[in-house]
Amino acid sequence: MELDRLAFTFFNPEIAREYWPDIAKGFVVTLELGLATIATGLALGLALALVRSFQMRVINWVIVLFADALRALPPLMVIIILFFAFPYAGLPMSAFTATWLSLSLVLAAFSEEIFWAGIVSIPRGQYEASRSTGMSAWQTLVNVILPQAVRITIPPLTNRTIAITKGTALGSVVALAEILGSAHSASSLAGNPTPLTLGAIAYLLLFIPFVLFGRWVETRFAWKQ
């Protein structure tokens, strides 16, 4: 009856009933944090890639420096800097803000590089041809370059976005009550790992669809050689 005992330890129905509202609350926080990160991260990344395509030297240096730094730093390090170091500069922020801002900046850095690679992959002739038909630089970018570039960028972008959004769990390190944070404190309170199991299930519910979507996107947009 080892298995029974194992099930009773890791999935104790009574404890599950008591603590699932905590996990559900955490689920909402993770969802909000994830959506906010995706929205701001991708928007900022796309904006930076577009600015970079105007080839202004100093600005390009700044963008590359930003993208490099945030790709080199571990995301948890960035969260720790914002949460624990910024207060010394008189800029305290909530755990949610620190996590959201960190992950957004990291996602912006990675997505800028991916969008940029997409833009670069479009032959220069396309740009010249569109300009010569009388389109403005902006029209060319939006109507000619971006639709093609986005197609190339979608598979790596999806995978990167999933990977960084999973980083919402890092918020628990700065005591944010998202899924992991609330599951962890509930399981210490209950003296039983059942809340952690619930948390794990919650993450699977949230991310399995994304991973499957990523898989589908990879075959759908596969580069035909």
């Binding site: 330890t9 730094a69 080199a72 624990f84 010394y88 992991l180 790992p193 794990a200 898989r215």
Partner: protein, 223 residues
């Protein structure tokens, strides 16, 4: 300006904590030397099993890979670290890190190696097998070397991610660089140790980021 320096790059505090942080950096390096080879080997094993083309095994591998790609690594780590003691098995933090990283990174490396193996033309298999090489010899002497070259940028990029991921070990109190920086910050009431640790990561990992960028742009140019 001077005040900012006092808080963020205080020379006095730097001189006090740099040895401690270097020790943390050493632990980070050792951790990486443990989890990267472990991930590469297990990822290669996943991809090799996939190439056996056994339907039920492949279905199982997809479930395995997707399962662990959907799981945030920190959740996995804490589940292992705090879950095992409840069934009466006390495991040291380092073992929890090894198991968690093995499960997580084998999925990512596995997907990369699989893409690499699939990029090697089928004729290579047939030619190698027809010269009398066994399946294993074909796989590891003919296919894998070419596959590795084809996905080298992805392999390097994932390895960088794995090294960055070692910061998670700080959560289970392994004294790597981030953990050391946090401890030093708590002791000195000053942000300098955190800034210093960030600078160490930047100096060491920035060249790798540059390398990846160059490899990726080269790949785009080849197309």
């Amino acid at each position: 300006m001077n005040e900012v320096f006092q808080q963020f790059l205080n020379p006095e505090i730097i001189s006090k904590v740099w040895v401690y942080l270097l020790k943390g950096l050493g632990t980070t390096a050792l951790l990486s030397l443990m989890v990267v080879p472990l991930g590469l080997a297990s990822g290669l094993a996943v991809a090799a099993l996939w190439s056996l083309r056994m339907r039920w095994l492949n279905a199982l591998l997809i479930v395995y890979v997707d399962f662990f790609r959907a799981f945030p690594p920190l959740v996995l780590l804490l589940f292992i670290y705090f879950g095992f003691p409840f069934v009466g098995i006390e495991i040291p933090a380092i073992v929890a890190v090894a198991i968690g990283f093995l499960l997580n990174t084998s999925s990512y490396y596995g997907e990369i190696f699989r893409a690499g193996i699939e990029s090697v033309p089928r004729g290579q298999w047939e030619a190698a097998r027809s010269t009398g090489l066994s399946w294993g010899q074909t796989m590891f002497n003919v296919i894998v070397p070419q596959a590795t070259r084809n996905v080298l940028p992805d392999l390097i990029s994932n390895t960088l991610e794995v090294v960055k991921l070692t910061t998670l070990a700080s959560v289970v109190a392994i004294p790597e660089l981030l953990n050391a920086a946090r401890n030093a910050q708590a002791l000195t009431y000053n942000a300098t140790p955190i800034v210093l640790a960030a600078l160490m990561y930047l100096v060491l990992l920035w060249p790798v980021v540059r390398l990846i960028s160059r490899l990726e742009h080269k790949a785009v140019a080849v197309r």
